[in-house]
Each structure stands twice: as structure tokens, then as C-alpha cells.
Amino acid sequence: MDFLTLLQVLDTSVRLATPLLLACLAGLYSERSGVVDIGLEGKMLAAAFFSAAVAFYSGNAWVGLLAGVGASVALAIVHGLASITFRGNQLISGVAINFLAAGMTVLVAQSWFRQGGRTPPLQGDARFNPIELPFAIGPSDAAAADRPLSQLIAEAGPLQQFYSELISGHSSLVYLALLTVPFTWWLLFRTRFGLRLRAVGENPAAVDTAGVSVVWLRYAAVLLCGVLCGVAGAYLSSALQAGFVKDMTAGRGFIALAALIFAKWRPVYALGACLLFGLFQALELRPDIIENVIGLKVQVQLLGALPYILTVVILAGFVGKAIPPKASAQPYIKER
């Protein structure tokens, strides 16, 4: 495998890791506050549809993003009501949201667009297009030279290849997702809000007796989760792909949850876990590369299952211990 192929695989990994990362951080906020959310998948899916639909009508990807975030936040509020206000079972609420989103998106898509449950393809500004960073070889250079972009990059030096192929040329949401990692770290570990959020996931009674509202904190976390899932969904339908198709999240919400456990509920580890799982997904698309490298034909399904297998290994305690926040999945009831 040559250097350029490696870069291409890594480039694809980053693209595929982005929705995982956003959803994983979304889950991180929620679970750090003690609210388990297996409805990441459903929230992403709803956001994917509504952002694509609104982007199609408005012709503006950012307006679409807002709509996607709105849809995801609405579902997050449902989850919040069920699990915080009414102290219901958080798993059941999450499952319900997944089913609701799976059915509703296709139904509404069919009713609005009559294309078999999909949105029409998004074009131009209705999509988040790649950003060309300064000094990178991009489509504009290819147009100026009137030669294919791949040729130009192939002729450049390794550093330029690295910069142009891997660093440059992603949509703004990819960079946004990457910036969310240090931001989340800072928010959790350097601010008052973060301290309280972590505390409420470990021992809500400590927060309550300190005179801080457990309910408010958990809602804040669930809403943050909704926003990030919304961005993840919008990225799927209007950046990674051009339009919504049925079940397009394809289990990413669950892989994100696996990544969250893999990352032991820590933001920087989450980045690593999502990049790793993104790499598996990228290799799933290029089985020929694995065959070249290890000389064995590997079933792509195995790669698809790897995130889950690794998570089970982690949970079994082979690679350190993954200890979830103590108050996870427990509704807070004031004791006498």
C-alpha cells in the first residue's frame, strides 16, 4: 500500500468518523449526567431527514442544519420528559424514539416527496461542500490547470499530499466536530457547569443537597445531546451524502454508544475511539487494501462487527475497566 492510498483511507476514516464522533459526544453529555440514551440513532435519523428536506426546500444547508437540530432536540425533550420528569425507564424511552424516528422519517418523506421514502438529491448550497484550506491542492487548482485533482495530488510532495488529501477538503461540519472535542473537555473539566454535570451523573443526591437542581442539569445535558445528534444527522444527509434515504444512520448511533464505552466516557478518548471505528468503516469500503496488506481475504462483515467486538472486550475488563457514571439510568427520587 502506498502513502497516497493510506492517506485516502484515512481521509475516508475521518469523514466516516465524524457522525460517530458527534453522536458519541452527544451520548457523553447525556450519560455523564446520568441519563442513558440509546436513542442517539433515532435522533440522528430524524435530524438527517429534516435537515435534508428543509435544505432541499430552502436551498441552504445551514437552514437545513437548524431544522435537523430542531427535530433532534424535540426528540431529546421527549426523552427528557420520559426519563427525568416522569422518571420512566430510559432504555424503553430510547428504544421508542428509535422506532418512532425510523417510521416517521420514511412516512413523512413519502408524503412530502413521493420518492419511496427518500428526499430528492441535494445540490449546490443545499449541501455542506468541502472546504479548501489555504495552500492545499483542491478542485479550484484542478479547474485552473484543467487536469484531474487526483493527478495533481499524486504529483505533489508527501507533506502537501498529507495536507491536501487528509487535512483539507472536508466540510465545515467535520472541523466543527473535531473542535467539539476540546470544547467538551474544557466544559466538563474546567467549568462549574461541567463539575455539576459530572456530579449529577455520579451522585445526584450530592448535587441536590448542595442546593442545585438535578432536573435542570439533566435537561441541559439531554438538550446538548439533542443538538449534537442533530448536527450528526445533518452531516449524514447533507455532507457525507446528498440527501436522505431510509435508515441511513445504519446503526451509527449504536456504534457511537460502543465508542462511548470504549472511550470510558472521556472526550479525548472518544475522539480516538471514533477515529478507530471510522477506520474500520473505511476499510469495509476497501476490502482490497486489507487483502493486500495482510494477504488474507477478510469478510467485510467482520470489520463491521469489530466495533462491537472491541466493546465487548473492553466491557469484559480485558483492557482496563470501563466504569459508567454511577447514577446511570437511575431516575432521581428525593429520599426521605
Binding site: 474546567r190 462549574r192 459530572r198 451522585n203 448535587v207 442545585v212 426521605r336
Partner: protein, 528 residues
């Protein structure tokens, strides 16, 4: 006279049909330690929860330093200068001491400045009150006593003038409890007001200035501690005269029932907990094992009860008992005539979610008399449970109620009823009155003595020295897996046993031969 630090007037609170607090009025003078005692469910915790803003009273007024104050939530209580140290600490276990202290009382939105401020303040508080804790240590690495200090520091950091402590010594070793009271004394000297909620009459008598007694939601009396006696307080709490000393005649030991030789127990972590002990228990005597918790007593009970493995020799009525394998399980032990009232009744003695009647047969569900062909004779078990609950005065006597809905004392009576009525040759009983009300303690102790008088052997493990001294005929002290001494209960005292419990075997300086007059038989263990 200055205005009272806290004055409650006519506080009432009902939960559905249950009147938890009835027209309660109390006045607490500043700079004093004010004790509140009462049995489980007497309404102490409800009253304190109202004071800390957890509940809103149905009626009544609260005055802080003479000013009428509304306390709708904990934030308001903190603002009013009230700090609360709960029985179960409200700490985030994987946070540092410093993080726990600032939680909810941060200066500004950024943590760094808050932590810096708190560090300075903490140093100051540590010097002022002798409350030393490493601010950077993680809570789960601290001893229970130190965790409690963090709770006190939390309150002081929030400028609490009034400190409420709910059963603070229930989880502490005697040494830690002494330290706590030294700290409380210091706080009182500095003008803080302390409300101490406890079951332990001794603590009330030794450390408080004033004491209020609660019974069934009502405040039955408030008296100066110096003008009352433990007997009088116990009577006020229970509503009738209570025997604080166990009434028993001298033991008449018979044949050897249990004989242990060179028993060793290694726990799951590979640590040797019992390091070769020899012990005999005779028919018709109560052998009490004293010791600070965690010195091998629990493991000894577990091996005898059949849920841990050991090495060595144990014979029961002359027959060797296997110490490992299938023949050493609880079933086999019961068949050998051993009944067991485990130390942790909620985890090992009962299934909390199951009804009382179901709990009355656990461990004995193979017994032929409760079978009905292939099925269990549920009707028979139920009827028998009803009768048992009558005999053991379980309240309420409702066999359908889940075990978790009974108070600690009544749960213990259910376990006792099950184990004692099997007519064992040997009864193992661990912490029989932990978390049990004073009225029920009397009953439970009497049942144990009755069993002894029927010629049964009893092995009692308790961390409450007073319980050991008043109940046991012979006292064996364990320290670090060894037996450090054996004394006749009638000819020893708390000081002597205290030395043995610390591993000091030369007790000639404190031994006395006159029946242990300086012990405190009034002591009753606290709610757990």
C-alpha cells in the same frame, strides 16, 4: 436570653394518611449541642428534612435567629446558615475532597479560581477546627470518618451556623466517634449550634446540653441533659418502661456443641482474615465475639454458616463438619443443627422484595413439612408465618407485606423467628440489633437469652461492646484474625476489652474483678 438559633412552631407534616410530624415546637439555643432522639419512624428525619428544605411543612413556622424564615429548598436552608450531615453521605465518590466541597458553592463559572479559593478556605477551617483532610484526595480513598469530615467541611464552607448531624456515629468506629465529638465540642466553643440526631442514649447523655424526645410524630419532651437519665429518656421514647439491662440468670454451660481448632479463612482477594483460631461453644451459654469490625469475625460467621471456605477443624456435637465443597454449604449446616442470623440481614437474611411469609421459609424450603406433593404448601406456610409473626411481635403482623417495608427491628424479628423456631443446637447471630429500635432490642435480647436457657449454644458477634457485655456469658476478643483474649463477661469491663480489641493482651492495669461496674449497660446500638 438571646434569640434561639432555631425555633420551630407548630410544624405538621403528613404523608397521605401517615402523620409524620404533629404540631412540633422546639427551640434550640445558640452555641449548644441539642440532641433529638426517638425510635425509627418517630419523625426525626422528616422534621430535619423540613428544616433543610427537602419537604414543605403542611403547617407551622420556622424562625432562624428570631426571624421568620421560609425554607422552600435546600438552597434557602444553606442561605439561612443551616448545614446538614446526612447519615448516608452526599459525596461524589470519584471527585476530590476539594471538588466535593465547592460543588454547588462555586465562585463564578470557571473552576480554577473556585478551587484556589476553596483550598485557602479549607486550610483556614482545618486550622480553626482541627478538621484535617487532604484536599486533593479522592473521596473513595478516604475512611468513613474522613468522609464525614468532608461533609462537615462542606457545611462550614457554606458558612453554616447551625449544623444538623443525622445518626453521625452509626458508621464510625469508636475511635472515629470520639474524634467526631471532639470536633463537635470545638465547633460549639466557636459558637456554632449543633443538632444531633441519634439513637444512642450514651451519646445524648455524654455530649448534649439539651435533649428533645420524639415519639410517633410528636415531641414528647425537651429537657436539660443534666436533669435526666437514660432510663427516663428510654421511657419517653418508647412510651413504656424499658429494661436497658438484659435480665438473665447465670449460664449453666453443658456439653461442648461447637469446637473449632486452627481455623483459617482466606478471602477472595487472597488476604488471610482468620489466622488460626481455637474456640468452643457449650450448650446453654452465649459466647460473644467482640472486636472492631473487619477483624475476622464476619469471616468466622461465614465459614460456620456455610458460605465461605476455610481450613482447620470444626466439629459440631462431636461430628466433623466439612469446610469446603458441597457438604459445607448452608443447607448442610442447617442439617447439622446450625441456624444463622446473618450480620447483614438485608442482603443475607432476607429477600427484600419478597413478602414476609415467603421470607419465613428461606433456607428451609426443602423441609418436608412445608411440601404439598410436588408443590410447596403455600397456604400452610402463610398460616404458620402469621402465627410466627404474632409470637415474635412483628409489626405490622401482615405476612403479605414485602420485607423491605418493615423497620429494621421488625425485619430482624422475621429472621429470628425463622431461625430460632427451627430449634437449632447452635445459633449464630451477627450484629443482632444493628439498626434496631430500643423497644425491639429488649425483645430480641430476651429471645436470645430464652434460647440459651433452653440449653442451646449461641455464638454472638457484635461490634457493640455494651451488647456483648450485657448479653454474653463469655467474651472472646478478635483482633487481626487472632483471638487476643477470653474473659468471663461478669468479670471484665469495657476498658479491658478495648485493649484486647486493639491487640494489647496485657490488661492487668485495667482489669477489675467486681463485675464490670464502669461499663455502660444503658447503651443501645444505633440505627444503621
Amino acid at each position: 436570653m438571646t434569640a434561639p438559633a432555631i425555633e420551630l412552631k407548630g410544624i405538621s407534616k403528613a404523608f397521605g394518611p401517615v402523620q409524620a410530624n404533629k404540631d412540633i415546637s422546639i427551640s434550640v439555643q445558640p452555641g449548644t449541642i441539642h440532641g433529638i432522639i426517638g425510635e425509627n419512624g418517630a419523625g426525626k428525619s422528616t422534621l430535619m428534612s423540613i428544616l433543610y428544605g427537602f419537604y414543605k411543612a403542611d403547617a407551622g413556622e420556622i424562625f432562624i435567629k428570631g426571624e421568620k424564615t421560609l425554607i422552600p429548598d435546600s438552597q434557602a436552608a444553606i442561605r439561612a446558615g443551616i448545614g446538614m450531615v446526612f447519615q448516608h453521605f452526599k459525596l461524589v465518590e470519584n471527585f476530590t475532597v476539594l471538588e466535593n466541597i465547592i460543588l454547588g458553592a462555586e465562585h463564578g463559572a470557571m473552576l480554577n479560581s473556585s478551587l484556589g479559593n476553596a483550598r485557602k478556605e479549607l486550610k483556614h477551617l482545618a486550622e480553626e477546627y482541627g478538621l484535617n483532610v487532604n484536599p486533593d484526595e479522592v473521596i473513595e480513598n478516604l475512611s468513613v470518618g474522613h468522609q464525614q469530615r468532608v461533609e462537615i467541611l462542606k457545611a462550614l464552607y457554606r458558612k453554616a451556623e447551625i449544623l444538623i448531624l443525622d445518626e453521625p456515629t452509626g458508621v464510625l468506629t469508636p475511635a472515629e466517634a470520639d474524634q467526631l465529638f471532639r470536633i463537635l465540642d470545638r465547633l460549639r466553643e466557636e459558637g456554632k449550634t449543633i443538632i444531633l440526631i441519634t439513637h444512642k442514649l450514651r451519646e445524648i447523655m455524654e455530649y448534649t446540653d439539651t435533649v428533645s424526645v420524639m415519639r410517633r410524630g410528636e415531641m414528647t419532651a425537651t429537657v436539660k441533659t443534666s436533669e435526666t437519665s437514660p432510663e427516663h429518656l428510654a421511657e419517653l421514647m418508647v412510651g413504656r418502661k424499658v429494661l436497658l439491662r438484659v435480665d438473665k440468670k447465670p449460664a449453666e454451660p453443658g456439653a461442648t456443641v461447637l469446637d473449632i481448632k486452627g481455623l483459617r479463612v482466606v478471602d477472595e482477594a487472597g488476604v488471610e482474615r482468620v489466622k488460626g483460631i481455637d474456640l468452643t461453644v457449650h450448650a446453654g451459654e452465649i459466647v460473644g465475639i467482640a472486636g472492631v469490625a473487619g477483624n475476622g469475625q464476619s469471616e468466622l460467621l461465614e465459614v460456620l454458616g456455610g458460605f465461605a471456605d476455610g481450613t482447620g477443624e470444626i466439629t459440631m456435637n462431636g461430628v466433623a463438619l466439612p469446610l469446603t465443597g458441597h457438604g459445607a454449604d448452608g443447607q448442610a449446616r442447617r442439617a447439622a443443627g446450625i441456624s444463622h442470623v446473618p450480620e447483614d440481614r438485608q442482603r443475607e437474611g432476607l429477600i427484600m422484595e419478597f413478602a414476609a411469609w415467603e421470607n419465613t421459609v428461606f433456607g428451609y424450603h426443602h423441609s418436608p413439612e412445608i411440601q404439598n406433593g410436588l408443590l410447596m404448601d403455600n397456604k400452610g406456610i402463610y398460616t404458620e408465618a402469621e402465627a410466627k409473626m404474632q409470637r415474635f411481635d412483628v409489626r405490622p403482623p401482615d405476612p403479605k407485606l414485602a420485607a423491605k417495608n418493615f423497620s429494621g427491628g421488625n425485619q430482624q424479628k422475621i429472621v429470628l423467628a425463622r431461625e430460632i423456631e427451627r430449634n437449632p443446637d447452635l445459633l449464630l447471630i451477627g450484629q443482632p440489633t444493628r439498626g434496631v429500635d430500643i423497644g425491639a432490642i429488649e425483645f430480641i435480647h430476651q429471645q436470645v437469652v430464652n434460647l440459651r436457657d433452653q440449653g442451646k449454644a449461641i455464638l454472638l458477634v457484635s461490634v457493640e461492646l455494651e451488647e456483648i457485655l450485657s448479653l454474653a456469658d463469655r467474651v472472646v476478643v478478635m483482633f487481626d484474625g487472632h483471638i487476643t483474649g477470653e474473659r468471663d463477661a461478669a468479670h471484665t469491663n469495657e476498658k479491658e476489652l478495648g485493649l484486647l480489641m486493639a491487640g494489647i493482651t496485657d490488661t492487668s492495669a485495667v482489669a477489675n474483678g467486681n463485675g464490670g461496674n464502669d461499663t455502660n449497660p444503658q447503651e443501645v446500638p444505633a440505627d444503621g
